[in-house]
Symmetry: C2
Subunit: 366 residues, 2 copies
Amino acid sequence: MNYETPLFFQVMEYANAAGRDVIDMVSGNPDWEPPEALREGFTEYAELEPDRLQYPPSGGLLELRQEIAARRGVATDQVVITNGGGGANYLAMARALERDSGNEILLTEPVYPYYPGKTTMLGGTQAFVETASNGQLDPVDVRNAANSNTAAIVVNTPNNPTGAVYPERTMRELVAIAEEYDAILISDEVYDHYDLSEKFTSALSIDSAHRIVTNAFSKSMAITGVRVGYAILPPDLVEAAKSRHMLVNVATTRPGQYAVLNTLRETPPEYSERNRERLRERVVSFTDALEAAGAAYTRANGSFYVMARFDGYPGTLENVARLIDEAGVAGMPGEAFGDSRTAWVRFALVTPRVKEATERLANYFE
Amino acid sequence: MNYETPLFFQVMEYANAAGRDVIDMVSGNPDWEPPEALREGFTEYAELEPDRLQYPPSGGLLELRQEIAARRGVATDQVVITNGGGGANYLAMARALERDSGNEILLTEPVYPYYPGKTTMLGGTQAFVETASNGQLDPVDVRNAANSNTAAIVVNTPNNPTGAVYPERTMRELVAIAEEYDAILISDEVYDHYDLSEKFTSALSIDSAHRIVTNAFSKSMAITGVRVGYAILPPDLVEAAKSRHMLVNVATTRPGQYAVLNTLRETPPEYSERNRERLRERVVSFTDALEAAGAAYTRANGSFYVMARFDGYPGTLENVARLIDEAGVAGMPGEAFGDSRTAWVRFALVTPRVKEATERLANYFE
């Protein structure tokens, strides 16, 4: 399939143009409030002296990098502030491909569509490792797929779209495989604040010169539009990544960095705990309804997503459009995530109308 | 020279570490107030509903693209909102190199160092066309340098670092050469609001499928740190550029787009007129002092910059450091802009202390 134009926007446009009320379960946009300190950050920024409106250091505001480094237990020099998680993944994948240690990127299937899109754009080739029906990744399969041409292994935990959270032994094995094949494990952990299983293990907990961790404040602070994320790189890879960042974007937006720094400093952990609690309730409510409707589904251990399979209703773009028109619920077609989940539809639980959506689906499929 | 790490930051760090008061004439950061509507935009944004904090459309907020399209006389579909002018130039140069119509990029010398850096990063090769001592570009020289391998001609008008503004006949010829060699003229017009000559001609005024215009609000609104710019592409190049933008950055920061849109709508032309007037006065004051000090200099017809040559004091990094330590004035070494201006130092007139700087230089070189 054509990963260069992810289907997200296409489905959302179709839903917006539908002649009826549609519950949006397509995008990964949180529907809840950002921390109060985020709003205060922008209000404060609006009053700063002109020099504070000018170029920040290319790698990011020093105080923000220090704050992240302290929280993640790494050196400040290893942190590069990027244009969201997307920018961080782009830098990480480019770096892995430019190390002259292979041209192939191993991806998991189902796959977050931006990863293969970035791979192709960067001139790499891709290979897929299929995950289990519960979304778990077997490191043995990754080892079998790895070879001397492997430049990177890209994983996402907690996972979009499966909701799987990889346990520590998986992360350890992935780092070991990356080391063995002189590749880079790129661990995209943008949903780390939405681990519902308490089993989440960051790749940062396994020290290695062969792993890059990417993250962003888009999901944890409910601000996907602000575009502030970061990459944590091994010391020998960081300068080249910063150089690319400078040549592509010069720097990441400063008001966003300022507001994020204020939020990190001022927001108590209860903010994230409340978000997880809300998500837990939605997962239960939604999967109970799927159960009652006789659908198969994945149980989200993290991230925002539940995948569902309805008998005789495969997750094609056509069926997703039909679901919008006939049931008033918009999901993402499983085929957007590669060949392994074409029978499935992904629903994002980031709408206050989850209960209403379950009723609509139950009525439609009963 | 190594264009991958532009010298800007290096010189600024040296100036900041100096044990004395230094007048910063290094960076291109305006020192004046942004329009009031810019600040209001951020204040308003801080109060919006959560859904307005989420992903904007990848190509940019529709209303901002419409506003730009109306002002520039192009179709809204041709406008892509980017992470500043840097992001726009990156997309434009990538597109030119990916058209399978050559691998070489023609640049002018002296050169804005990001252009060769981007060229190399994107896998292109570069060739330089030298400009006259007043910074003007002779299209005959460009035509002589163009060949079947020419993918793009990148120009910057008003020019950094020479202050030259290319007249209409130059722009027409450049478009014609691009058409003749199936190349793309990339016209970076980020200083268009700082045309002091009233001779500025945008490449947009010459309709062609072979030109891309890049611009940003960084300089015109005095907000280099906000990172909002745009590219205007021919219809057949725009989709691929948007796709790359999506795969690299997902989207451009939404609070910045919101504040810029508010500023475009609410700011009278007097704001820019006052900025030009201030700049005109600074140019006169600074070049008068250079004249009195017996230095050679370029007369800025646009942009923020004046280049100066002091006898026996070539524009090396070493001499620029000496000027910081001994005169308390920081400029950019001419060698940062390629081989043609190694005898020169570039001074940015974006400090309220221009007069003081001229006195320091006059005392130092007398």
